[in-house]
Structure formats: C-alpha cells, structure tokens
C-alpha cells in the first residue's frame, strides 16, 4: 500500500486562478509537441565521447546538458498550421490542437517522494503525417 502526495507548484496555482491557459506555450513556457512515430535522437552512448560537440548539430544547454538540433518550427497562429523543417531535405506539416481534457504535467521529486504539478497544457502541436521533401 503506497500513498504519494501531489503538491502544486505555486506558479501553476497562480495560472489556474487567473485561467491563463489559452496559448500554445503555457505562461510558464512549456509546450507539447507530438510526432507520429518515433523521433530518432542519438543517445549519448552512441556518440564518440570527446569530439561529438565538433558536429554542428550538437551543443550544450545552460546546464551543460548535451542537446541536438532537431529542426526549425514555423508557426502560423492565425491558421493554426505548423511546419517543421528538419535539416535541408524534409519538412513536417502539423497543426495546433486543443486538448480536451487539458493535460497536467506531473514531476516526481525523488527527495520528497511526491509528485508536483508543474504545469497545465490546453494545446499541443501535432504532426500526424509523414515527412515531405523540401523542393
């Protein structure tokens, strides 16, 4: 028998109270991107330890986590259409969808052994189709 408490981040509480839930990215800056199938990101173990950062696709974020560039997103807020350009050869067509019901983002905090509600999403960007070539 286990009981795990869920606390609510005070930023989320403020967000819920003001009902500021209507943009693609939440007021806290989070976004959900859904891609049909598997997004093939190289794992750190597969990369040569010393020199993968010489490859321009790879870099480090502000906390020194290795990151890889996936593509460029172009969002048309009026038509709710989103295009993602991957490299110089492929593009994905997607759209902004409303989530019904909204989704909560929970994060397990191992120190306190509890979940924390970090954000609430009302929209997501969805790419349902196969990639198209860039002509």
């Amino acid at each position: 028998m286990n009981v795990v408490d869920i606390s609510i981040d005070h930023h989320v509480l403020g967000q819920l109270a003001q009902e500021k839930l209507s943009t693609i990215a939440t007021p806290l800056g989070n976004t959900i991107i859904e891609i049909q199938g598997e997004l093939d990101i190289p794992s750190l173990q597969q990369l040569p330890k010393d020199n993968y950062l010489q490859d321009s696709r790879f870099s480090l974020d502000s906390q020194d986590n290795p990151i890889v560039k996936v593509g460029i997103l172009n969002i048309d807020q009026d038509s709710k259409q989103v295009t993602m350009y991957v490299g110089t050869t492929q593009r994905l067509l997607g759209k902004i969808e409303k989530l019904d019901p909204p989704l909560g983002l929970l994060h397990f905090v191992s120190e306190t052994k509890e979940y924390q509600l970090k954000d609430v999403f009302t929209h997501k960007i969805v790419f349902r189709n196969r990639p198209l070539p860039i002509m």
């Binding site: 976004t31 859904e34 997004l39 969002i75 929970l106 979940y115």
Partner: protein
Amino acid sequence: MNENNNTTLYSQLEYDHGYKLIQLTPELLDALKSNNNALKFKQVQTDHEGTMVDDVILCSKNKSWNIKQKNHSNTVLLCKDEKLNGNDNCIKGYGKCTYEYETRLTKGHINLNVIPIYDGEEEEKLDSCNFEELINQSGCSMEEGIKEWEEICGCVIDNHVCILGENYIHSVLHILLMSLMAEGYDMESQGFLIAEGIESVQKDGNENEKSQVIESVIKRFFHRENTDTNGKEVRWLIDKKKIGVWYGIKALKKYASKNPIRDVEFLQEWRSMFPPFMSIEIDLKMLRGHYCKPNSIQGQIKYLSKDILPMDSKQRFKMLFQIQSQWLQEEIEPFVKDLNTRNMKIDTFIMKFARRRHVGKQYIIQSR
C-alpha cells in the same frame, strides 16, 4: 516561443523520465483550484470479479478518480522556452512521454478487508489500524470514507478501527430506541445530541456500553438535522426507513431463511420486532433485494442474501431464475444492479441476460 516566427527546436540527448502527463477532467481541475496539496495517489488492492488486482486511485478531499495508464507509440516531447547558443527563439525537448494517465471519476470505497468485526466482547483485543491509516489504505477520499464509515457502522475504539457485528448493532439500536423513548425525546422533529443519546443508554442499566459504539449506531440510523445550527452541536433525527429496513432484514433472517413464510404473516412478525410503542410504517417493497418468491408457492416469501449469488452476470441471472422463474423488474433489479459496471441503462442491462415482458403496467423478467 515566438508564435509567428521561426523557432528552433532542440532536444536533450538524455531525457528526464520523471515527467508524466495526466488528464485533467473538469472535476479534477476544480479540485486543483480549490484544494491545494490535498491530492494524493493511492495504490490499492481491489476485487475484480474475484481476483485481487492493484489499482491506482487519485483522491482529493471529497472525490476519487480511477487512474489508467494509456500507452501510445507516438513521440510526445515536453519542451520549454530556453535561450540556446545565443538564440532567444528556441525551445528544448527535456522529457518524453510514452503514455498519459487517464482519469475517470469513480465512487471511492473503504478497504473492508483490513477491518475486524467487534461483537462487544470485553476480552476482544483490537489490533487494527487507526482511521487515518484506514483511509490511506482505501481507494476513497476522506469525505467519501467518513460517509461510508457511517453507513457500515464502523467504530473506532481506543484508536483501532472495527466494524460492529450485526447482532451487537441490533441490541444497541434496540436499547437506544427504548432509552430515547423512555426519556421522552421527540426523535422526529426535535432530535437529540449524541451526548444525550449516550447518556440515555448508559443510565438505563447499560453503563458499560461504550460511548463510541453508541455514537456509531446513532450515525448509522439517525440523520443530521438539516437546519443551520449556528455553531451549536448537531442534533440527530430518527431515520425511520433505515430502522424499518434493518428490522425487516432481521425478521427475514429469523422467520424466512429456512422456509418460506406467507407475506401477511411475515408483516406481523416484522412489526412485532420493533420496541414497544414504536410506530414505523412498513411495506414489503422496503425489503426488495432481500427476499424472493420461490417457485410454485403463491403469496409466500423467503430470505435471499445477495452475498450468496455468483459474481458472474450470466451465472447470477441463471441462479435467480432457478430460485424464482419470473420476477417483477423492481424486485430483480436490486439483485443485479451491482453487476452493471458499465453504467448501462438498467433495462438494457437486464435484457442482455433475460427476457423482459410488458404485462399491464409492470415488466416481468424471465429466463430466455
């Protein structure tokens, strides 16, 4: 994220796997808005057609949700705005979700498997948990737990939970009703305080009767006065229907469990079981779900406990038709409605397993 221009999407090579997505139904959103820090996940064992399985229940202060893990094969990337490589217009994928938690509002229940039955014997030593621990072990919110606790006549003695035995409840209820009548309490309109109920019982030669037991019996068979008490203690009014049904079931067990009894005769026996001068209206309809009318014996009834019926729908209907070939819909419904777990319309559910005929103003249910 710049919503009208180009944004560069990066992804971490190693994701944080501690992130989960959960569906927030309107009721759950309301709970989040109103009850800060009151939500908890509970892992509980529940009985699914005779097999014990682990379920996860999400509970707020007063509601419960069943949690199901909904897997999918798409890439769901959690991204956050971040300045990367000197560019302000970037988002970074930091987590990936392969499932989301589906939440369905459900009725929470207390875990009865961990509660001993107490019959009032002094030598019985209770070693069960306390009430808070019981609620933590049960797939229900605190408010749902307290409500069900009163309905099952649960009691906390010396910080240990127990359920009062049926015969023990009956004897305490009988003494309580007689004591309150002897003290002249107007149970229907004025009501009484719990302390007054306890005092009435204990000064009537039952000083050893535990206060907690009397309180549990009061909460089981009386209801709170509806009017605003303005901070005063709650007064309790008699629930004649609950008491009538309780005595009716006792009468069925006593007079109609071995052999059928004529319904007119049964009504007399039922009435005779109440304390003297206690006026409660009785009708056989009040006991639907506790008796059957065995085949080929007109005008007679027999006690039938739902607890002895199979948990499988097909088998339960089969057994019910073996006991009684034709049922009024209102009489069979209480015996089968707990099997309608998909919340279908009850007529539709019955017709899945039986034939339904319209005779006059009534519906007759019989085997196919």
